[in-house]
Symmetry: C2
Subunit: 428 residues, 2 copies
């Protein structure tokens, strides 16, 4: 396996020139004045509140003083310093470390909930209720609040007691069933969109519900199940089933519908594990086909009786794939991609995380940024939507409890002396 080591961090830092950073990133205040009491942990919940933070809300993570979000400590055999996993899902937030099992700690958090616009939790089923912070109790404290819960399975589902992580959602919500080679066991899509994919749906709903709340003054209860969220992302697979009458199958590197050929992953020069290029020709635009054949020097095949129509190309796909593979094998994946793009054929090389991390254009465009954290600088991705050409500026993720004093003072007027007392009592 041909793999290069990541750039060591100091080099990344040197590359970051201050003016470049400030030119392409900016703070956004879409949600000016919006206050979020954030009980989320790991990824599905934290990603939803991170969006609110990026959009300018004040998001206060409520964490256990001893342990914090369990996402802070996922590195086997390492001290419990904040890993990259935690950073990515918690930048631009504040951390209040407070013991919810102490009566005073719970009282303080209830006082914060009275002022909050939004609260979100993704604990195991039943946990928030045992803390006395169930929906009905919080609604009594603050009828304007948007109260949000993310669980593995929906309440009312046969699996509603089930704990969930990303891979459980990807199994029970369908993604695993459609991923893998046709005659082999399924595999898990390697990324955690079971988590972040769910978080995005909750984030959008919170943003929508706030519009209504601003008009009506009434709060809402929002609930999403990770299994249900996966179905939202599986809709083309349901479309395939509606067309064929059978469960959507696994199709390896091919796309689900099977309506278009040639389309797929082709081997590029080099032979490394990710030396492949994806190209596709869409039935909706017949020019893709002729452009591709011209590019690879096989204009003769455009009207060939084996390949003259969309249906024939699907039927004789294997033959066609072999012909295209002959061409792609002669080119580096980037070169193949660029040549295909130049003639107007949809194409993408398979880039791995290292190649993406080291691609300068992401920093130039503000998509990746170097973020300062107390234990080092990190280059990571920000919210990928550009707003008037700029991206959201990243601020480091908080150390556990780093904002406790500030938050308690600003939200509740609790002074230094009282905070010191709370510290001694183990409340914060």
């Amino acid at each position: 396996m041909r793999r290069d080591k990541a750039h060591p961090l100091p080099e990344i830092r040197k590359q970051q020139k201050e003016p470049a950073v400030s030119d392409n990133t900016q703070d956004f205040n879409f949600l000016q004045g919006v206050k979020v009491v954030d009980f989320t942990q790991f990824e599905a919940g934290t990603t939803s509140t991170e969006v609110l933070a990026w959009f300018g809300a004040e998001v206060v993570k409520i964490e256990n003083p001893g342990r914090g979000d369990p996402g802070r400590r996922l590195r086997p055999g390492k001290p419990d310093d904040d890993p990259w996993y935690f950073h990515q899902f918690n930048v631009n937030k504040k951390s209040l470390a407070i013991n919810l099992k102490s009566p005073r700690g719970l009282e303080i958090v209830k006082d914060m909930l009275k002022q909050a616009d939004v609260t979100v939790e993704n604990m195991a089923p039943g946990t928030i209720e045992r803390l006395g912070l169930d929906y009905d109790s919080v609604k009594k404290l603050n009828p304007r609040i948007i109260y949000c819960q993310i669980k593995g399975f929906g309440s009312g589902s046969p699996h509603e007691r089930g704990l969930a992580f990303d891979m459980i959602a990807q199994a029970a919500g369908g993604p695993i069933s459609v991923t893998g080679e046709p005659d082999r066991p399924p595999v898990k899509p390697g990324l955690s969109f079971g988590d972040t994919g769910t978080g995005m749906l909750m984030a959008a709903t919170i943003l929508g519900a706030l519009h209504e709340r601003n008009r009506t003054g009434r709060g809402r209860r929002l609930q999403v199940a990770m299994q249900d969220a996966m179905i939202h992302y599986m809709r083309t697979c349901f479309a395939t089933m509606a067309r064929t009458g059978n469960a959507a199958p696994r199709r390896g590197a091919k796309s689900g519908g099977g309506n278009n050929a040639p389309s797929g992953l082709y081997p590029a020069k080099g032979g490394g594990p990710n030396d492949y290029v994806y190209l596709t020709t869409s039935r909706a635009n017949p020019e893709h086909w002729s452009r591709l054949m011209k590019l690879i020097g096989r204009e003769d095949l455009i009207e060939d009786p084996r390949f003259a129509t969309g249906d024939l190309r699907v039927k004789n796909e294997k033959e066609l794939d072999a012909i295209i593979g002959e061409w792609t094998r002669q080119h580096d994946k980037r070169e193949a991609m660029e040549r295909l793009i130049a003639v107007g054929v949809p194409s993408g090389a398979v880039f791995d995380t290292m190649e993406l991390q080291n691609e300068p254009s992401f920093e130039e465009r503000g998509i990746m940024q170097s973020v300062h954290h107390h234990n080092g600088d990190y280059k990571m991705a920000t919210w990928p939507v550009r707003i008037d050409g700029k991206t959201v500026r990243l601020k480091g993720s908080p150390a556990l409890g780093q904002d406790s004093a500030e938050v308690l003072h600003n939200w509740l007027g609790i002074g230094e002396r009282e905070i010191e007392k709370l510290r001694q009592e183990g409340v914060v």
Copy 2:
């Protein structure tokens, strides 16, 4: 391959009892009064405006009178009636069929843009500009508008001219590099989150930008690239790279981090293509491990020197997987899932689209609904977040141009006689 045929549609219709439907679904008006001029097609764009429609905005699809959204005609060898693919991404919207290449058609759409709060497009790079509806022109017409573009690659990226579909984004943004078996070529995650995943990020940003616009009166330009959007969903893979120093690898059915064992896909009774159950034990909660061993009758292994710590279980994962597989093979996947859930071990059977489609709980909870369309009724998924316990009520997707007269009248006061003239001139 053991697969059951889908329920024929009439049976699904019979199962739908009216009161049940009206009990668990509702119209929501989060975006009351918000008007959207929608130039989107296929999936990445349409899914973003569909969220706005579900949240109560008036979303008017602008479609070519002859052809419409190319997503309407993806069924090979079938007449161009609206396929399921189109329905799913366009329910709750209106359709205005209008010729943008006619001066009068363009003028009408410009008049609509003057009133719109949001406009979204995901055409090929350069297309909207050639129509004269580029950002600067539209901003001059309406400085309050949120102007949104979804492309394959970011402007300023080396690939900015590249056309993109779901699989191109999944190649160039990383997901394919991490999906598949370790020593085999990569595969494509079988679902189209390259499209819907991007659409969700745009939807959230529009909802955020509208908050700001309501305060400041100023519009914004929003741009997202599908490649960049994929990186947002790849962040756990970047975390793995940060930990190991190597590009995130493919790990088959295992989850990316590799920090936890036992964890993975285990074969269930039946031997069908999706007769597997996922279970995982998290290092963050050591009880998962002991609960699992008790359930499968191997309490003796809890403190076994081969498996006594998280690190040892990762090291001796294969041995452990074989032991667990012996147990899972004796149980149907649903039974295994339920028994694991009952003792508090995170677990999910691999459900395929047919099993999900036929699972009654989705309809009972309002997540799936029967939708009426002029060529039949369809059971499909709605927005998966429940709001005060109810889901968004689905309305059929529009036939091409079905709302032309209504929209032209309501937005611009164009009367019947003028509409008839526009029809005769081929403008609408």
